[in-house]
């Protein structure tokens, strides 16, 4: 009897202590410090369905800050620290995580989530806490422009181009370069990035006189696509557009080729990963094209240096998430340096002025709607290698 009670009391006391400890952590002062470490937040998908992307992005951001710190930090030697908060790949949790970064950790700026919906869920927090958030990858137009009011959200930025641009680039490529008259779309239904691309690809393709003969959808973590691909094959498209991420795309391409679908398959920056040829197989990937921010064959010193440093640090090839997150972090550092202060509003103002910033993913200029304006490249896969095909300017 004593034992049972002891256990019970042990649990109760543990719970009580935990809560007391938590409540004690509430509150605190608000003045911006003028010395010591500067905290930069990262509201990322560390668990849940998009953990793969969140992990890459946090790696990219950490690498960026490490490099800056090794060079002596900012604002006269102050070091930077990355505080990662997990949004569990859920929009509501993203608001929660952004709130924590803003008010508990008192970050001066933050990397916003990968997924557009999560960025938007946290946007209200950014606006009210007056802390900027820059998403490495969220490409839905509504991320920076509130669709309800059509006003730009002052504290939201992105380091990537937006869906309409990329979608129309691929649509033009399909009609002009590949001479496609009909197309199939196979969209990742769990990602608004992919859905946005699908929408703008369709619009662009139809505008050029093409016809979308079939549109189907899959979900992330699906592994078997043969049923839908069989259906697609029956409608005989000239090209297939697969906006989505490399893990599923790899399997889709592999299974499509197995089923005898030999037509060109097109995609976008979500394809960019060294894993893609491993999953799909080098030969299956022949005759596939995707748009991207940069090409790793790019001989620019920035890209080379980044790829090497990343490989040294994490023992793997960086993907687009890592590269864009690295750029976003560097843009924050740049804005802090230019503002010469940790005043979050000043940092935001400087961020908005970003022009010709030399990023790994190309030269970045933010336009009046806070979207990165940069050129896209189209990459062709040949025997498992990315080959530069053409460059498209905005």
């Amino acid at each position: 009897m004593f034992k049972a009670n002891a256990k019970k009391w042990f649990s109760i006391i543990c719970a009580g202590t935990l809560m007391a400890g938590l409540l004690a952590g509430c509150g605190g002062e608000k003045k911006p410090a003028t010395s010591g470490t500067i905290k930069i937040g990262a509201n990322l998908e560390m668990t849940g369905g998009n953990a793969t992307f969140g992990k890459s992005a946090s790696n990219g951001a950490k690498l960026a800050l490490k490099e800056v710190n090794e060079k002596g930090g900012v604002l006269g030697g102050r070091k930077l620290e990355l505080v990662v908060a997990d949004n569990k790949s859920e929009a509501a949790e993203a608001a929660n995580a952004m709130q924590k970064l803003a008010t508990q950790d008192k970050v001066v700026a933050a990397i916003a989530p990968i997924a557009s919906s999560s960025v938007m869920a946290g946007a209200a927090v950014n606006q009210s806490a007056k802390i900027l958030a820059i998403s490495p990858t969220a490409s839905n137009p509504a991320v920076t422009v509130d669709p309800a009011t059509n006003k730009v959200r002052d504290f939201l930025f992105r380091a990537t181009f937006i869906d309409p641009f990329q979608g129309s680039v691929m649509a033009s490529f399909a009609t002009a370069d590949l001479k496609a008259k009909t197309a199939a779309i196979y969209v990742d239904n769990s990602s608004d990035y992919a859905k946005g691309l699908a929408k703008f690809f369709r619009a662009g393709f139809e505008k050029q006189g093409g016809k979308i003969v079939i549109e189907e959808a899959y979900l992330q973590k699906d592994t078997d696509f043969k049923a839908t691909l069989t259906k697609m094959k029956a409608s005989n498209p000239d090209v297939i557009f697969v906006p989505g991420y490399y893990q599923e795309v790899g399997m889709i391409v592999k299974q499509a080729r197995e089923l005898g679908l030999t037509v060109p398959i097109l995609g976008a920056d979500g394809w960019d990963s060294a894993k893609l040829p491993e999953i799909a197989g080098a030969s299956a990937l022949n005759n596939t094209y995707f748009s991207n921010h940069y090409s790793p064959d790019d001989n620019s010193p920035a890209v080379k240096k980044f790829v090497e440093a990343y490989k040294k640090e994490y023992n793997e090839m960086p993907d687009a998430f890592a590269a864009l997150s690295y750029d976003a972090t560097m843009m924050i550092v740049n804005a802090i340096t230019k503002a010469n202060s940790t005043d979050t509003v000043k940092i935001k103002d400087e961020m908005a002025k970003t022009k010709d910033f030399p990023g790994v993913s190309g030269s970045i200029t933010l336009n009046e709607t806070h979207d990165a304006v940069k050129s896209a490249v189209i990459i062709e896969m040949k025997d498992g290698k990315q080959v530069f095909n053409k460059k498209v300017n905005p």
Binding site: M19, A95, A102, Q104, D146, K195
Partner: protein, 317 residues
Amino acid sequence: MQALRKQDLLLLGLAVVFYAIVQGLLMADIIGPFWELNIVLVGINIILAASLNLINGFTGQFSIGHAGFMAVGAYVGAVMTVKFSLPFIVALAGGAVAAGILGFLIGLPTLRLSGDYLAIATLGLGEIIRITILNIPYVGGASGFMGIPRLADFTWVFFLTIFTLFFIKNLIRSSHGRACISIRENEIAAETMGIDTTRYKVLAFTIGASFAGLAGTLFSHYFYIAHPASFTFMRSFDILTMVVLGGLGSMTGAVTGAVLLTFISAALASYPEWRMVIYSISLIILMLYRPQGLLGDKEISLSIIKRLTGGDSRAEN
């Protein structure tokens, strides 16, 4: 019977005092926005856990599709405020009623199943609801329903949580509640005592579902967004875990479970890589030590507190 009324009033009074203290701390900015958010989340989770407890803990029907009803409330409420500009209170009622109606329609056929079969059926229904929402462009589909105004605040959540708790407590402590409990205890005996077991199973399921809907409406109107990813079966598991951890069939247990898990989750937010590992290990350890939940089916009542503070050290078991 007068004693019952007196006890209710006392509890209500305590709730108001608690509200006043927390609200005061919020207004004085001693509790910052992050903890305010988590306090609100605790309230929403209490509503979810208490309503699932009515189905699982009291009526003994093994349901793991609660997130689906929460989703219905979240979306229906959002449609009402965003698309039809209806007042929040109407949206709350609408979310609860819509989820309740769905719960009724789903419960009627499926509650014939029992045990694990009912569990997988409810899990499946929860997923069907989510996938259906995912395919309705009108509410944003996979991108989620955005631009929901933040109409819920601590006050709304607090008083609706209290309302939920009183509602379920009063139901349980009535003949109708006893009818529900008798189904859990022994369905055949309940039936031979003249209790229409189907009716009470469906009743508990419907009431549970409508409170989940209420919680959903609060949720979407606090977080600005309703997103299908927030309502997967993992959310249902989370709610179930709160209920079981606190103690199936204990009102105060459901509250304890919801408070504890929400705060553990919030406290671990700073250790993203380790968060789920620590969370899962604590879950396993807690279950190994207290398989019947922290409170079993006991209640923390005023009399126990009195006894503890009164220096009487007799343990209750």
